[in-house]
């Protein structure tokens, strides 16, 4: 006991150097997380004195049809985005990984361009591209005699538009992450397969995909967390509409807290989302910080 104390005193600079992180973390993450639990048990409206109402907010969630609708929309968006985006990212990564590709650098830079651009920039530009009257997509479609499609103002298309924009934004990012994994697959495996007469498609299905298992798993988990937390796309592109057809869980929380002043109710919803995300996060952080750092044979 005393020797531990002496050791701590001797190494006090270590504690001093890591302290700033812990101070910020305690004030702006740990405390709000606990404070949020408290607020979720009250009828806090952002101004007056909040009154303790027990689990009423949580109980009300079950009968709030818009909550269930937002949850449903979020799940649909997940299904529209994650599989397609992961597949596209895999294909893009393996093309970028071809040994004799000219201009690889240019393609890499271009692929990541949507990722480095702010969501709010992208969403405002997509409002223009997807406009029903005179948006470039509908102009192109009218050349084939189709349209005009109400991409942003019909309940059938709004989620698809959000998904398309998200895929446009994030595919390049995940391709770069997957590419880094692919480059760890040693070239001897590929050469051996070529000697056995395997073509590029066979190599993709027979070598790349199976050996990339952990990376793909990680990307799917990471994607899922981000899709569940996503808000920028919806906030500007469709504003959750029309008729709440693209309302997501996070945006519904935001609206409750900052537009309807239902802080208590929003906090309760945050906690439900929090639990959902925690379950996925535990898997993904484990994946990222242990298995994916190991090199491949």
């Amino acid at each position: 006991m005393e020797s531990t104390w002496r050791e701590i005193c001797k190494k006090r600079h270590c504690y001093l150097w890591i302290a700033p992180f812990f101070v910020i973390f305690a004030i702006f993450s740990v405390y709000p997380a606990l404070y949020g639990l408290g607020i979720s048990l009250t009828n806090h409206d952002g101004f007056g004195t909040p009154r303790f109402i027990g689990f009423e907010n949580y109980v009300n969630l079950f009968s709030d049809s818009l909550f269930w609708k937002s949850l449903g929309n979020t799940v649909v968006l997940w299904a529209l985005i994650v599989p397609a985006r992961t597949l596209l990212a895999l294909i893009l990564a393996s093309v970028l990984n071809s040994s004799k590709l000219l201009g690889r650098r240019v393609y890499t830079i271009v692929s990541l361009l949507p990722y480095v651009t702010a969501v709010l920039v992208v969403a405002n530009v997509f409002r223009m591209l997807l406009a029903t009257q005179g948006g470039i997509i509908n102009v192109l479609l009218s050349g084939f005699g189709i349209g005009p499609v109400g991409w942003l103002d019909t309940t059938q298309m709004s989620k698809i538009s959000v998904a398309v924009m998200n895929i446009w934004r994030m595919t390049g990012y995940f391709a770069i992450v997957l590419l880094a994994g692919m480059q760890k697959i040693s070239s001897s495996v590929n050469e051996a397969a070529e000697l056995d007469g395997a073509g590029p498609f066979r190599k993709f299905l027979g070598i790349t995909i199976p050996l990339m298992g952990p990376e793909i798993f990680f990307v799917v988990l990471m994607s899922s967390i981000w899709v569940l937390q996503n808000m920028g796309d919806v906030m500007v592109l469709t504003k959750g509409g029309p008729i709440n057809s693209s309302m997501t869980l996070v945006y519904y929380i935001y609206k409750n807290a900052f537009e309807f002043s239902k802080m208590g109710y929003a906090s309760a919803m945050s906690y439900v989302l929090f639990l959902l995300l925690m379950i996925i996060s535990i898997f993904s952080v484990k994946g990222q910080y242990s298995s994916s750092k190991e090199d491949k044979k």
Binding site: I8, K11, H13, C14, W17, I18, P20, F21, I24, F25, F28, P32, A33, Y35, G36, I39, I91, L92, Y107, T108, I109, V110, S111, L112, L113, P114, Y115, V116, T117, A118, L120, V121, V122, A123, N124, V125, F126, M128, L129, G134, V139, S142, M170, I176, F201, M222, Q229, N230, M231, G232, I253, S267, S270, L273, L277, M278, S281, I282, V285, Y289
Partner: protein, 278 residues
């Protein structure tokens, strides 16, 4: 060359060409649109170049209707501050976790990593109420401090420092009589520069592009960051003036594009080490 190889090469070239067009065309339309009137942007027979030449009317309109330059200035102040604070303190902590043994180190490191798992959306409402209670509405500090020193930055520096700062060099410096502070400032910081630089680029980009927290904690449009202002301009553009919205998106994204093209290698390194964020 067998047939499947030719097919593969052909398909991948077509695919890459499609990626380039689909990615770049929206950016081109955005920039060109900032010189156009609404009827030209939403025309059924569009042309890429503005028909009336490069007229800066939309930019003038933007500057007269919004405190746009003030918002650009805010973004620079906030982004540079967050980047500086993050780089300095993440380096301190990352270097410590990489190179020192001290009691409770592994427990503290696990806490650091687990903080990545607390999603910021889940603490949005209580954070807002708390910072408002601290008098943080419309203040620079409330835009800067809460997002500083993320755990992924500590992890990034730590990964690099394990091999990047050799134990022998530190031992040698100690034998020469250097204090731990001396080692940190004259040995660790110079040797960690490549990793710090990656972290700086990534932090700059993330902070510049962030919008949710600035929208929530700022009520005066003079205090918004430029990215957050895009939401207000976007809402206003529903009543016409889409061209000046495109002028705003073009100007606000210009610093990021320039930075990205200049330092894309560093940014990609940063993404792969720290895994970035959406």
């Amino acid at each position: 060359m067998n047939r499947s190889k030719i097919l593969y090469t052909g398909l991948s070239l077509v695919g890459l060409a499609a990626v380039v067009v689909v990615t770049c065309y929206p950016f081109l339309l955005m920039m060109m649109g900032s010189f156009k009137e609404d009827y030209e942007i939403f025309s059924m027979s569009p042309s890429i170049l503005p028909r009336n030449g490069f007229d800066f009317k939309m930019y003038t309109k933007l500057f007269s209707e919004w405190p746009f330059m003030r918002n650009m200035f805010n973004s620079f102040v906030v982004t540079v501050s967050v980047t500086a604070i993050t780089c300095f303190f993440c380096t301190l902590a990352g270097f410590t976790f990489a190179k020192y043994e001290f009691p409770f180190k592994s427990a503290l490191f696990i806490i650091t990593l687990s903080s990545i798992m607390i999603p910021s959306v889940a603490t949005l409402v209580p954070s807002y109420l708390m910072v408002r209670g601290m008098g943080g509405v419309n203040q620079y500090w409330s835009l800067i401090v809460p997002g500083s020193i993320p755990a992924f930055g500590i992890f990034m520096i730590r990964q690099f420092a394990i091999a990047g700062v050799p134990d022998e060099a530190m031992e040698y410096a100690r034998v020469e009589g250097a204090s731990e502070w001396r080692i940190l400032l004259s040995l660790a910081f110079p040797m960690l520069t490549p990793a710090i630089f990656s972290l700086a680029i990534l932090t700059f980009m993330n902070t510049w592009n962030d919008f949710l927290w600035p929208i929530i904690i700022t009520t005066k449009k003079e205090m918004l960051t430029v990215t957050a202002l895009l939401r207000s301009i976007g809402d206003a553009s529903l009543n016409g003036g889409f061209g000046s919205l495109l002028a705003a998106t073009t100007l606000s994204t210009l610093p990021i594009i320039v930075l990205y093209i200049a330092f894309h290698n560093k940014l990609i390194e940063g993404i792969l080490e720290g895994m970035g964020k959406e």
